[in-house]
Amino acid sequence: AQSVTQPDIHITVSEGASLELRCNYSYGATPYLFWYVQSPGQGLQLLLKYFSGDTLVQGIKGFEAEFKRSQSSFNLRKPSVHWSDAAEYFCAVGSVRQGAQKLVFGQGTRLTINP
């Protein structure tokens, strides 16, 4: 069965600092991988996705993520955070064989930005 672990429940960084949010997945083959962001009181919005090809993927709002098969990881990064990046971030995995028909989500990482 697929599973996703986000080891950090809450991270605090200063505005302008770099950010890395960790995501580890368990899946028997190459999965489809996603990062979603949830602002307070809102639904989830897709930041970026990995299906195949280049292991470094670019997303919206200046985010990027790198797929590392050997480490079963798909960490999200941003070189310089802005106060508006404060939100909850979810990593998700989908089955390639099933066309990502269903997604399994991690527990989420809440990001706080210090001014």
Binding site: I9, G43, K49, F90, Q101, K102, F105
Partner: protein
Amino acid sequence: NAGVTQTPKFRILKIGQSMTLQCTQDMNHNYMYWYRQDPGMGLKLIYYSVGAGITDKGEVPNGYNVSRSTTEDFPLRLELAAPSQTSVYFCASRASGQGSYEQYFGPGTRLTVT
């Protein structure tokens, strides 16, 4: 283009009451989903549908029912509300074509059962 809309935004139920959470999408998506989000637990899939007339259970279906009579609508029914169903409920949809894997989420319904 409204995307995915959910009603109501908030609701308080007494134990044993029933209600229907409404979800509508105007993107002509075949796939629709219901999730619940509990604090620190991420999103858990309740039910999903791959098209009108076709539904299937997700990870946590107990206590819920769904129907899909049209492409646009995917209501979630709670028959006998229990405190364990206090949660935030999200509806999502996506297209069914190759590579169309992004799920689009509604704003959520916050439900409290007391």
